[in-house]
């Protein structure tokens, strides 16, 4: 699968900044998965347990508070003041 740059950011610093192939989060309209090549997009995130898949297939989980998801042509940014990585 095609990779893209994923940044999971909090005011205290980036929790993750690297390549990913898929991101699963919960938006206001329901759960959504982001793959490479998604159209430019901004949505509101709801508190939920989320995860993303690394290029090697490894899954990384994190819990996310309310925040914003910003999808641009070549990168995806998760912005929330409450994020904690689980693994």
């Amino acid at each position: 699968m095609k990779e893209y740059r994923l940044r999971i950011s909090t005011p205290a610093g980036d929790q993750y900044n690297g390549e990913a192939v898929r991101l699963s989060v919960r938006g206001t309209e329901g759960s959504l998965g982001i793959l490479a090549g998604h159209i430019p997009f901004v949505t509101v995130l709801k508190p939920a347990d989320c995860h993303f898949i690394l290029p090697g297939g490894e899954m990384r989980e994190f819990s996310c508070g309310s925040g914003l998801l910003l999808v641009e042509s070549d990168r995806v940014t998760v912005l929330s003041s409450e994020i904690s990585m689980k693994n």
């Binding site: 005011p11 205290a12 430019p40 901004v42």
Partner: protein, 309 residues
């Protein structure tokens, strides 16, 4: 003569103990600079990303009527301005606190949120404005993102209810270890054109931004609001983005100011240590001269006494 020697000895001792203090403060400040600049870089990258979302939203036609962008209509009592003033928790940092306060005094305000112990003390001691009810005197060193979020939510509530029309912030921009500038910026209503120059320098040194030591945040600009899809709608995204934007800007400004405070203190204490060493050397010279003079006089007296016998 011996009274003069004693006085000089006491002064040398006093200068020495001051030197211990200034050296210790300089070392503490040097130790804190690295951590402060790391935290500053982290907060800058977050606030830049949130700012880029808000900038895109502010250009969207659906959000143009929002009070966050269009502003409130000025009431009969005139503009009600809320000013956030960020200063240090302690003094002995050169002109750091004074520069921020001087800039704050130029604003016509109706209420104030002080951040940092010095800023709180200033409001409590003089006629520098009315303390805002949502303020609770936060320290700068241990200011957390949660504190910024609580403040941002309080500000949004008061802004929406019309209790305030404008939100300004006075903070200190960290340019390098040697240069920090006090800046005044507008947070609300959003200034569509000013978002990029949010922290342009308006302090005493009218220099352009030259970020040297702080790691530069990734340039994060959304191409155009027209090509961007907002879900569920730009208005709904704006409602969530504004508190997030305010909290990231406040937190970022506190981190900038704290880095500036420790850098200013390190520089001030470095100068104080250098001056102290020069003063100690001069006093030691004077002391040795006085002591030598006393010894010479004693020898002359003994020789004169021996000659008489």
């Amino acid at each position: 003569m011996s009274a003069n020697i004693k006085r000089l000895k006491l002064r040398i001792r006093s200068v020495e103990s001051t030197l211990h203090l200034t050296k210790a403060m300089q070392l503490v400040a040097s130790g804190k600079i690295r951590r402060a600049t790391e935290m500053l870089a982290a907060s800058r990258s977050y606030s830049d990303a949130v700012k880029s979302v808000v900038t895109a939203l502010s250009k969207s036609p659906e959000c143009a009527a929002s009070p966050y962008i269009a502003g409130h209509k000025a009431g009969e009592s005139g503009e009600k301005t809320l000013l956030i003033v960020i200063a240090g928790d302690r003094g002995l940092a050169g002109g750091y606190n004074a520069n921020a306060f001087r800039l704050a005094d130029t604003v016509k305000l109706s209420e104030i949120i002080p951040i940092g112990k010095r800023s709180v003390d200033r409001i409590l001691s003089g006629n520098h404005g009315r303390m805002s009810p949502i303020s609770s005197g936060f320290p700068t060193e241990h200011f957390k993102p949660e504190d910024a979020k609580a403040l941002a939510e309080g500000i949004c509530e008061r802004y929406q209810s019309g209790e305030i029309d404008k939100v300004l912030i006075v903070s200190t921009r960290y340019v390098s270890v040697l240069t920090q500038n006090a800046v005044l910026a507008q947070l609300l209503p959003l200034d569509k054109n000013a978002s990029k120059e949010m922290f342009s320098n308006r302090g005493r040194d009218q220099k352009k931004n030259q970020i040297e030591n702080a790691a530069p945040a990734e340039e994060h600009e959304i191409a155009s609001a027209a090509t961007m899809l907002f879900e569920p709608s730009p208005e709904e995204v704006l409602k969530v983005a504004i508190p997030e934007y305010l909290s990231s800007m406040i937190y970022g400004a506190v981190r900038e100011s704290f880095a500036s405070e420790v850098a200013a203190r390190r520089y001030a204490m470095d100068s104080a240590t250098k001056n102290g060493i020069v003063m100690k050397d001069n006093l030691s010279l004077e002391y040795n001269r006085a002591r030598q003079g006393a010894i010479t006089q004693e020898i002359v007296e003994i020789v004169a006494g021996a000659g008489e016998n």
